[in-house]
């Protein structure tokens, strides 16, 4: 199947190449079956395309998320570099990114003095 846009990636597909974030940290290795939580992690890290193996998706794995979340600001993502592949941490990162962006759309890391 080759390179696929993240919005077309479906649970049950199998990766042909590892998926890494912009800091080259491994999010999911080649040969792993993609689950819904992985798609959420990829979107949280702003992944646009993934390389998948040809073959049918697993219909029992469920539909992908209807509204793809926007990747949070770089300053937020940088803080989560050590916990890149954890779906729960990805959920925290996305929620923090949304809340900061909603309050300070121009200067997203208002409290970012660390």
């Amino acid at each position: 199947m080759g390179l696929l846009a993240i919005d077309d990636l479906k649970p049950g597909m199998v990766l042909a190449a590892p998926v890494r974030n912009h800091q080259d940290q491994l999010l999911l290795d080649a040969g792993r079956k993609v689950l819904l939580k992985h798609i959420q992690v990829f979107k949280a890290w702003g992944i646009r395309r993934v390389d998948v193996r040809p073959g049918a998706e697993d219909p029992a794995a469920g539909p992908p998320q209807a509204d793809p979340p926007a990747a949070p600001d770089e300053s937020v993502r940088r803080r989560f570099a050590d916990v890149a592949g954890d779906p729960l941490m990805a959920a925290i990162m996305l929620a923090a990114g949304r809340q900061l962006a909603a309050r300070h759309p121009k200067t997203k890391a208002r409290h970012g003095r660390s």
């Binding site: 959920a91 925290i92 890391a109 003095r113």
Partner: protein, 282 residues
């Protein structure tokens, strides 16, 4: 850690400041079953600064009372003895550690903001969980990193080596502390809490906020502060000394039985309450 280093560290902890006399007297009074609100009010009103802080805080949005509270006795009756002790502890603790340089003052301000962010987070999470003692969670969040203040002010050389390892090698503070000191701010915080005779629950949460599932009868409170610490870092409220968000203990998350779709509400409330309360506690 070498034995000599450990002895030196323990000796430093012996040098730690004691709590202000007023707070000690109040703690004693609160433990006295015969004590009445007017006895407590008399001690507080002897101290103008404490009186002003208490009245400001009980009239802030932190409590959200509709009517204005103008007397110390009224405040005590409304929020209770334990809450008063917690508030006074809160407002006194950070005054005990004088800054020695502009740079350490800046670091202390960032740590204060992080601590306050964690305190607000613990209170917000406690509200979602319908926890009965929100002030207790607030104070535990505020004091969870008190060991770092000890490092900054009493172990400045070691603290600088820790900061250099965090900056240069991207370590989490806890890992750098383990290298330099052989123990972490959580261990130092526990020693301080014991020296101050703080309640066992508070000492345990301070000691185990990075490994909350080991906190025995206080596991829920330790899990709340563990999560609040991570959420405050996620929002970059102040700084705990490094820029990274450490991993959340999944067992702690499962124990709290929170849903991930509650995160937006919790984080939003944290930002709102942090803005509200930070001006009252400075």
């Amino acid at each position: 850690m070498a034995a000599a280093d450990f002895r030196r560290l323990v000796a430093k902890v012996e040098d730690l400041p004691t709590l202000p006399r007023t707070v000690l007297r109040i703690t004693e009074l609160i433990n006295d079953p015969r004590a009445a609100a007017k006895d407590l009010a008399r001690i507080i009103t002897d101290d103008q600064v404490l009186t002003a802080r208490l009245l400001k805080l009980v009239n802030s949005s932190f409590y959200g009372f509709s009517q204005k509270i103008s007397t110390v006795t009224g405040a005590i009756v409304l929020i209770g003895f334990d809450a008063i002790r917690n508030l006074l502890l809160t407002t006194s603790v950070f005054d005990l550690f004088p800054s020695r340089s502009t740079r350490s003052r800046r670091e202390q301000e960032l740590l204060w903001d992080h601590s306050l962010g964690c305190a607000v987070g613990a209170k917000v999470i406690g509200s979602v969980l319908r926890h009965e003692k929100l002030e207790e969670l607030f104070v535990a969040g505020l004091l969870h990193d008190i060991g770092k203040i000890v490092e900054m002010t009493l172990l400045p050389g070691e603290f600088e080596r820790i900061a250099a390892a965090v900056r240069g090698r991207g370590l989490l503070v806890s890992a750098a502390e383990a290298e330099v000191l052989g123990c972490t701010h959580a261990d130092i915080g526990r020693q301080l809490a014991e020296r101050w005779n703080l309640p066992a629950k508070l000492a345990t949460v301070i000691a185990l906020h990075h490994s909350p599932m080991e906190a025995g009868p206080f596991t829920t409170e330790a899990c709340v502060v563990h999560l609040a610490d991570i959420l405050a870092r996620a929002l970059s409220i102040g700084s705990g000394g490094d820029e990274k968000v450490p991993p959340l203990d999944h067992a702690a998350w499962d124990l709290l039985r929170l849903r991930s779709d509650a995160l937006d509400d919790i984080l939003g409330a944290m930002l709102d309450e942090f803005e509200d309360i930070s001006s009252f506690l400075r």
